[in-house]
Subunit: 214 residues, 3 copies
């Protein structure tokens, strides 16, 4: 088995730095998301959104770079399509955080619930697991077990996020009588929950890569 793995060890490991940078953008964005969730005034929200938007553009740039690199490289560490899908999956996590931040600014809800911060912190946890998994991918030598471990973490985080979102929704429908305010908060929170879903999808893509190559 090891000889097969050795064949797959990247001769030209140019993709790992870009994927690592994307994982890092997720980390930075999740930190900004935590801060945004703790500031309720519209001015601060706008400022944090601008910073998150910058990260989102950085993510887009990295995604394009992956594509350019795939296009100009003859040999790749593993299937081109897998790199493509992984990069898209990482980008999705960033996009949902950006989308949440955008909605906070666009809708301008009266007050964010405390569970927004709880979800933002779970996304940060997911960001750590993703960074760890991508780090292991680089060496891809008998470390598939560790990657699987990080994938399981992402699954557990997603479950926790589900519970938080669930609790939030029950309370929202019980207490919020202003239906437009209810729509605003529901959508803002839903994007955060989708970010944890997207992080779990990254786990699924990583697992598929392991299935193929490990």
């Amino acid at each position: 088995m090891n000889s097969l793995l050795n064949k797959l060890v990247p001769k030209e490991p140019k993709f790992f730095p870009v994927l690592k940078e994307m994982a890092n953008v997720i980390m930075v964005t999740s930190d900004l998301m935590i801060e945004l969730s703790q500031h309720s005034d519209h001015e601060s929200a706008i400022q944090f959104y601008k910073k998150i938007k910058e990260q989102e553009k950085k993510g887009d740039g990295l995604l394009s770079q992956v594509f350019e690199d795939l296009n100009s490289t003859f040999i790749t560490p593993f299937d081109r399509e897998d790199i493509n899908e992984l990069a898209n999956g990482l980008d999705d996590v960033i996009d949902y955080m950006n989308s949440c931040a955008k909605r906070i600014v666009l809708y301008n809800p009266k007050q964010l619930p405390e569970s927004a911060m709880v979800l933002a912190k779970l996304i940060k946890e997911a960001a750590v697991s993703i960074n760890n998994a991508i780090d292991e991918l680089d060496v891809l030598k008998n470390h598939s077990k560790m990657i699987k471990q990080y994938c399981n973490e992402l699954h557990a985080i997603e479950n926790k996020a589900d519970d938080v979102y669930e609790e939030f929704i029950i309370t929202l429908f019980k207490t919020e009588k202003d239906s437009i305010e209810l729509i605003k908060l529901k959508e803002v929170m839903s994007e955060l929950e989708k970010a944890t879903d997207a992080a779990e999808r990254v786990a699924k893509i990583l697992k598929t890569i392991i299935v193929k190559y490990a």
Copy 2:
């Protein structure tokens, strides 16, 4: 053509029992969904949701098992990724039913429309077609025509579900004046409709597998 098919006949058919079990979970869940749609008191709803949640966890377990099996098996009946995608597709059908049941419990709408039961029954029909198609997959010997037939059934069911959902939405917007109640019912019903979409996606995955191997 037959010689090619023979090569693809599974030497180690360990995946079919798990996929069949997943198809069976869809069947059991759709039966619970029909019952849930006929009970309007919150206590019964909670009880049926608990049972559906159990099935959803069973589905998750089977999905993990598919992944573990893929990881430990050298030869597979067909591409590992296809099995992966099919298992994920089956899991999605279960997830949307679970998500609908969850929302009924979380939102606690005053009354479910009769079309909830109609949709639940269509999901049951889809579950039967899926079970039939997965059964045929096992033998994969000149039976691609029958699988295609079941896929067409799933397409037709999805179209019917669209019509039911459409009719429901027109009536809802015409008659429901409580906007929060309207949001609740729209989302509950939308998850049911997505379950039929997911069943049709299973048909698409099956068709892709046929395209490759039959």
Copy 3:
């Protein structure tokens, strides 16, 4: 590199006409969508929806034809799955327009915002880029640069559509006090925005095809 490309030049180019026809259906539907966005009376809306629905059915028929052709063809210009995914991606663009038109008819909002027309015109622009890209795909001889160019156009159009939708949402939440009317307009517009997302996804599929074969 060229010798590799030559090998991939279709011996049996039966798929291109069908893909081109799908691209053409997108064009025709986007024209109908522009007209629908300019007519506010319910009767006209119903008439345009019927025409769009016809196109959507035509698209479904073409998608089935692609599947049938894939099933009966031994040699294909490139991977069967790629053709499958591209055809599904094209169908999605049509589906979202159809879904928007359906909602206009089902929800019957008091008045469509002007931004509906702006988005419809952006979808038309996307339709032109898609048609151009599919035309280039046919020859697939050193023209990957032009396809990439059209993909970049689709990305830019999606960004513009995002801005238009964003602006619309801010205004909607500021000015619309009838929450049911707000839900209607938000969903109608959201489907239009998703159509531009779907067009960008077509760009991503095309890019993946280039990565593999160019």
